[in-house]
Each structure stands twice: as C-alpha cells, then as structure tokens.
Amino acid sequence: MDLILKIWRQSNSESKGKMVKYNISDISPDMSFLEMMDVLNDQLIKKGDDPVAFDHDCREGICGMCSMFINGEAHGPDRLVTTCQLHMRKFQDGETITIEPFRANAFPVIKDLVVDRSAFDRVQQAGGFISVNTSGNTQDANSIPIEKNDADRAFDAAICIGCGACVASCKNASAMLFVSAKVSQYSLLPQGKIEATDRVRNMVKQMDQEGFGNCTNTGACEVECPKGISLENIARMNREYLSTLLKS
C-alpha cells in the first residue's frame, strides 16, 4: 500500500505545532498502525530527520499507552481496538491519513503525538481506591459472596485502560466515562460501598480541578472507547454523586 500521512509535529509543550505531510510506500495490510509508524520513523532516521514521537508500550491493546487521533477518531476507524491493534487492512491504498494527538486542555502535548495524561492519575489518587492495608490478616476472599451479575458489571467497568480516548472524543473534553468507570467498579462491590460517598465527591472535585469539561450526554465517548465501557456508568456516577449531595 502507498499512503500519504499528515502528522502533527510539535517539538515540545512550549512550541507551536503544525501538520506535516509524508509519503510512505510498500506498507503491508497485515501491519499494525504502529508498525507502519515504525517504518516511517526508520525512514526519517535514515534521512537524518527527527522521528515522530508517539506513546506506545504493550502493543496488545491493554496498557493504554498508545493514543493517536486518526482521521478524526481516537484510535482510528476500527471499533473496540486501540491504535496498536488497528491494522493497515482497514485503510485503502492511496489514502491520506491524518494523525493528531489526543487533544484536551487537561492533556497538554509533550511532543508530536505524545500527551501528558497525568491528570488521570491525580483523579485516581483523589479517591480511586478502597482503603485497606496489606496485613496478611484480611478476611477470607470467599467470606462475602458477591452476586455474579454485580461482579460481572464491576468487571465490565474495571477493564478501562485509562487511554483517554473518551476525553479526546468528547467535544467538551469531559472525563466522565473514565471517572465513572472507577466509581462504578467500586460502588457495585460490597468492599467499595463503605467509602462510596467520599470517593465520588473527591474524584469529581479533582476531575473538575484538572480542567476536564462537563458531560452533555452526546455518547461519543462510548462509541470510541476501545474497551466498550458503557454510558450506564455515567448514569450510575451521577446517581452516586446526587445522593452524596443530598446526604451532605
């Protein structure tokens, strides 16, 4: 395949960026998108140019590190995959592909396609945990049976990989899907209920402080989420948050 790539180049967080055009040829449809980027970078290095910086690590769709906005969609045109699992067979020979970083006020660009998502970490630090120490004397794992349905729904929320596609896809750059997934995981489990009130209040507060936008229920986040995290989680979090307000 021969392709034209239009890629966002920005040398660091201070400098101004711009789109730069590259031609690339002999791309196999069996390559992953990132392997195509490897080929491009190899060519750039050979020419003595600066390779395109992009985040990636596991390349099997689970670490959440890769983060490109491809042809106007987070993680590109395929559904339920991250960029590392997107394959070139999803594109046409001769196609022009636009590649940008995930854009949001809370995700400043570090270089080219690499953004700083540490805001997500700080939201988790505000309350995304159950306060239990490692003592070795925790009660037996089977002492509290959990209804399978609840356990499964908690799992479905817990598989969020924290990639930020939801924020990048949202016209308001809202992080509601991400935050609600964690809130939901714990609120569905008996272990997490004890701190539920503080958790949702603190996490929402931190989310707002980080500069994420508000949720207007467009549902774009759910469509672009590579793990299929459901909007139901947002509804659940709103419910939790409301009951927190009523209690206080």
């Binding site: 040398s11 196999s28 069996d30 992953s32 990132l34 080929v39 190899d42 750039l44 290095i45 050979k46 140019d49 600066d50 390779p51 910086a53 990636h56 690590d57 596991c58 390349r59 099997e60 769709g61 689970i62 670490c63 959440g64 590190m65 995959v81 699992q85 394959h87 570090i110 700083d116 998502r117 540490s118 997500f120 970490d121 988790q124 630090q125 995304g128 945990f129 159950i130 239990v132 120490n133 490692t134 070795g136 925790t138 009660q139 794992a141 089977n142 509290i144 049976p145 209804e147 399978k148 356990a151 499964d152 908690a154 799992f155 598989i159 990989i161 924290g162 995981q185 714990y186 272990q191």
Partner: protein, 667 residues
C-alpha cells in the same frame, strides 16, 4: 570458586518463614518515617511493594518509564493467578502448590523460597478481593477457578483474560492511596540510569527524566529493583516494547550477581510471526489450553493442501489429525507445562507439519469444547440437544464468556474468526526465570539493594508454571519484601538523610552524562532497531528453544562483534536534553547487547537440559530433556568481571529436603 549463601533460616521447611518473620529486626513506626526507599518499576511487584512499604510508614520514591504506573507490563498478563485455597475441594494444599512449582521448575529452584511463595499465595487472593479486584465468580457468588498447565487441580483465580490488568490496577489503587497521602512520591516517565553505591551500600540512583532529558540524583536507604524480565533481548517477544534489562543490568555491573540468565520461558501459544515488519508478538493465554486442543494434520499431503489454501482445517477428519500432546503425554494432555508444549510444537513443525505459509504454526482448536459446552447448556435449558446449529451457538456463547477478549484480539490481528476456524499458534519468548540473584530476604549481593518479581531469579527454577508470575510478583511485593527489608533498615535508623552532593553521586551522574552524549555525537548510520533486530535473530536462532555447543559459541562471538559495531555505527538523532525515544532505546539495547552474551555463556556452561533450557547434547532417546543432577544441581550465579562472558561463576548448591528429586514426567 566460592559458594553463594542464600541466608536461609534454620528449622523445618514449614516453619521457616514464620520463625524468620518473628526473629528478624524491626524498625519502629517513628523511625520508619526517617527512612527512604526507592522502588524502580511499578508492575505487580513494584507497585505492591511501594504501596505496602508506604503503608508501613517508609518514605517511598517510585519510578516508572511509562506515563503512568498503571501501564507496567504486568497489565498484559491474561490467564490468572495461582493460590492454594482449595476452594474447589480437589485436594489442593500449600504443599501441593509448592511441589508442583518445584517440579514444574525442573528441580532448579530454592525449596524454602518456593514454600514461602505457596504459603502466602492464599493471602494474596484475600488482599486483592478486599481491594476490589473483580475476580470471576460463579452463580453462588463465590470465586471461580480454572486449571493451568503442569498441575492436576483447579487453583487459578482469574478475571476473564485480563487478570494481570485487574491485579495491577488493584496494586495501582493501593499506590494511589499512598500517593494521595504523600507517602509515595511517584516519578512517571523516568528511567533508572545507574545505581549509586556509598561505602559499598546501595544509596540511590541516577534517573533520567524522559520528558526533558534531565538527569536527576535520588537518594535512599535502600533500593528495590522491580523492573521485570529481559525477554526483549530476543527483540520479538510477548513483552512490551519498552520492557528492558537496564536497571537489573546496571546493578549487575555494580556488583549484584546475575543468576541463571539462560532460563527463558518460550510460551507455546502465541500468534505466529507474520512478516519482517513485526514489532512484537501477542500471547494467547495458556488458559485456552483448558478448552482448546492442539493438533497438526497426520498426513503431509493435508499440510501441503492447507498451505496452498486448497483445504481448510475443519475439513480434515478426526482420524487424520495428530493431537500430538494428547498422544505423547496422555496424563496431562494439552495441559503439559509450557516448555514441554513448546518443544513438542517445534518438533512437529521441524518435521514439516507446520500449518501456515512459514511452516511455523500449529492449530489450537475449540470445536470440541464448543460442542461440549453447547450440549451441556442445551441440556440445562431443556433445548434440543440434536440441533447442531443451536449447540454451536450456545457453545460459542460460553467460550465467549470465558475468553471473549482473547478471541477478539486474535481476530483483529490475524483477520480470521477463531470461533469458526482453529487458531494458529506458535511458541514465542515470554518470560525469564533467570534474573538478579537474591538471598532469602530478596536482597541482591549488594547490601541494601533488593530485587523482586520477574527481575529476580528465585522461585521458578528452569521453567515457570502458568499463573505463577502474578503470584510471585504480588507475594514478593505485598508479603515478603516489606518485612525482610526491615531487617536491613533497622541498621539505618541513625543514618539520617542521604546527601546527593557526595562524590559518589556526582561521579555516577557524570558517567551517565558521558555515555548519553556518546550516542548523540556518534553520527553513525544504522538505527537502534537495526541492532536490536540483529541481536534478536542471533538469540532466537542460537539461544532459543534448542541449544548446542557450536551455536552458543558462535552466538558469543557474534554478539561481541555486533556490540562493537553498535558503538561504532549506531545513529541516534536529536538531543540529550529533550524527549528522545531513540536515545532511551539506545541505552536499553546497549545493555541487551551485553546481557545476551552472558546469556549465551550461561547456556554454554550448563551442558544439561532442564526446563526451558534444552541442550541438544543432553536428551533421552525419545527426545525428552535429560537433566544432570550430579553436576548441575545448582544455581549459576555470575559476578561481573569486565566482558560479559568473562563473568565469574559462583554456584549456589540446591538442597531438597522435603522433595524427592525425580525425572519430570507428564506422560
């Protein structure tokens, strides 16, 4: 040749850990506040250790090269975590888990470490459930289990095919709690460049901030290396792109011994290589072998027809299929340990029975399981058990609920639907049992420097059983290191803050600065990946699934000359003081180019076959691995001495008191 002292406590095996915990020195809560600990790496071992050390009151500084601690490669572990809970009532016990692990490791691990691992395994599950890890449950609300290779019980706890993710996010949440409390200071996008020794003790590290390229000095009273394994020395592996040996190798060069470097796990069920562009390999969890049957065609004509696209696997009749694992190992069948399954696949492919274009793939087939589950489901629901379409649909639903994400991953990569056609799989490098040598307290041969998780060598011998890596990572981090480190730190309560202005720190930083500048000013012609791929080819062809003296000797000299060429001709663009992925890669590959040589040396010296280490010169008439307990019943512990392959061998003899050492048989 001096011997290594593992500092194993005295007394009966079953009481060692309990007695040891009661007799080692403690640090009072008030004094813990005065003590700093550095943890490098935030996978299961590093994250759990950081969290627990902070809970205990130490000031922890944690480092990861990724943009968040949650991205460490433990996240990608799929199948599960073992624990001797015996919830299934199938005769499991601490002893049995201990026994299986020693046997699975082909009698090359330390008995007392493995027993401790089995002992604390049950606590891990309790701890994780308390943290909100959503393990799979049955309809009664209790935890579900499945089986993994090399065992005859169901002791593996799981969360679909994302167990590693859920456990890591649990440990990450425990870390977040401590970061929020200010007890852990987290350094994302930082890479450890070297260890700093003061008076022979580990007192800090030099780290590079990967965002702005600046070097930083960090001091502590102890340094814990939890940087994972070195499978990426093969370039293609199931490890993440960034997984590297640098932290472990740097401490080796500063005096920490490196043990059993040639013990590598080649995992039998990975998606085969599709072409030269490939950057990494993807694992298909071992849990699939619970329900998948592995086969190749019996007749070579069928193999040819398949490769030419004239025949589909589903068209081959049952009697014309060779379920070679079930044939060779009737007792364990498809659930033999990984090393055995990998070699058996290689044997069939080498004989010409590989089923893809490259001739390096075998089938993993779910059709019998789909039919079995479908019939069961139809029976339960009172539906027509003769309706083939219905049975298939019901069976596929069950398979989807068990392995949905793995099947989806396969389909996205290979572009074939594994519910309809068998998966194609081939062995790939997955895990390294070898690593930094540690004593019973998990301390390396450098005082105050510890190694935990995959980075150390201690528990898996020559082959690791499935679902045991997660168990070991969390055991080390939650339940072992936080207590054993106190014994050492109790001597440091009056030391006070360690200054980073001492000559030791200044010199270490300067050495790193010089090394980095060399890469940038080299102006060579080949990219870092060019060298990494070449190294990978040497490792795979000459130190891979099957090894011999001639190849290993060649590997040593080829790696030496490749390394020389690397320093002469590598091209690293950009500057030191900026975000520079190529520079970060160059540093890592430079260390792989040294480790690879020691790896080959270790494999050359160990002329027996054991576990994942198969020497062609040492096999039975049936082609099974032949161990040599008279000469090789030891841990090879290497002390750095200039050139990697000139390292000095120190043996730690292995003693088995509880277990009778036998020839491993899964027949």
């Amino acid at each position: 040749m001096s011997k290594m002292d593992s500092k194993t406590p005295k007394g009966p095996l079953k009481e060692k850990w309990t007695n040891h915990k009661s007799s080692i020195n403690l640090v009072s809560p008030a004094n813990k506040r005065l003590i700093d600990v550095i943890v490098v790496g935030t996978g299961l071992a590093g994250a759990s250790a950081s969290a627990t050390l902070a809970e205990l009151g130490y000031n922890v500084k944690s480092f990861c090269f990724q943009d968040s601690p949650r991205r460490a490669h433990s996240i990608a572990a799929q199948g599960g975590i073992n624990a001797a809970k015996n919830y299934q009532g199938d005769g499991d016990s601490t002893y049995r888990l201990f026994y299986d692990t020693i046997k699975g490791g082909d009698y090359r691990s330390r008995e007392e470490n493995v027993y401790r691992l089995a002992e604390v395994s049950a606590n891990i599950i309790d701890q994780c459930v308390a943290q909100g890890v959503p393990f799979a449950r049955d309809y009664g609300g209790l935890l579900d289990n499945r089986s993994f290779g090399g065992v005859l019980v169901s002791r593996t706890f799981y969360a679909k095919g994302q167990t590693g993710q859920q456990l890591l996010l649990g440990a990450y949440s425990a870390m977040n709690r401590q970061i929020g409390r200010g007890k852990i200071k987290m350094y994302n996008r930082h890479e450890m460049m070297d260890l700093v020794l003061v008076d022979g003790r580990a007192r800090g590290i030099i780290a590079r901030n990967l965002v702005n390229g600046k070097l930083e000095r960090h001091s502590a009273h102890a340094v814990v290396i939890a940087s994972g394994g070195y499978g990426n020395v093969f370039f293609l592996s199931t490890n993440a792109m960034g997984s590297n040996v640098t932290a472990a190798w740097k401490i080796h060069k500063k005096g920490a011994h490196f043990a059993n470097p040639c013990f590598t796990q080649i995992h039998p069920t990975c998606i085969p290589v599709s072409g030269d562009h490939q950057s990494k390999l993807t694992l298909m969890s071992e849990s699939l072998r619970n329900d998948g049957r592995i086969w190749v065609p019996k007749n070579i004509e069928d193999v040819k027809a398949i490769r030419e696209g004239k025949l589909s696997p589903a068209e081959i009749e049952e009697e014309n299929r060779d379920y070679y694992l079930e044939r060779r190992y009737p007792a364990f069948g498809n659930l033999v340990p990984r090393d055995v399954a990998s070699r058996a696949a290689k044997e069939r492919c080498d004989a010409g029975y590989g089923v893809n274009k490259t001739g390096e793939a075998v089938y993993l087939d779910f059709s019998s399981a789909i039919e079995r589950y479908g019939k069961e489901e139809a029976h339960v629901k009172g539906l027509n058990e003769e309706d083939k379409v219905l049975i298939k649909k019901l069976g596929q639903q069950i398979i989807k609920s068990k392995y949905g994400n793995l099947f989806q991953m396969y389909e996205k990569i290979v572009d074939q639907n594994p519910y309809e056609t068998p998966m194609m799989i081939y062995p790939a490098v997955h895990y390294t049992m070898g690593g930094v040598w540690v004593d019973y307290n998990l301390m390396t041969s450098i005082p105050g420097c510890y190694a935990i998780g995959e980075a150390n060598f201690s528990d898996h011998g020559a082959n690791r059983l499935g679902a045991s890596a997660l168990m070991q990572g969390l055991a080390d981090g939650y339940f072992v290191l936080p207590y054993t480190i106190g014994d050492y730190l109790s001597g440091d309560i009056r030391t006070g803050k360690i200054s980073t202005d001492t000559p030791e720190f200044v010199l270490a930083e300067e050495a790193v600065r010089v090394r980095l500048a060399k890469f940038i000013y080299n102006k060579g012609e080949h990219s870092v990946d060019y060298y990494h791929k070449k190294l990978g080819k040497i490792m795979w062809n000459k130190c891979g699934m099957s090894r011999n003296e001639k190849d290993l000797k060649e590997a040593i000299s080829e790696i030496k000359s490749l390394r020389k060429n690397f320093y002469e001709s590598v091209k690293v663009p950009g500057r030191v003081d900026e975000f520079n992925e190529e520079l970060a890669k160059a540093v890592r590959v430079a260390d792989f180019l040294e480790l690879g040589e020691l790896f080959a040396k270790d494999a050359l010296e160990r002329t027996e076959s054991c576990g994942g280490h198969f020497r062609e010169e040492s096999q039975t008439l049936e082609g099974e691995a032949l161990r040599d307990d008279d000469f090789f019943n030891f841990v090879s512990s290497w002390k750095y001495n200039g050139e990697p392959s000139e390292a000095i061998l120190r043996k730690e003899m292995l003693y088995y008191e509880e277990i009778e050492v036998k020839t491993r048989s899964y027949k």
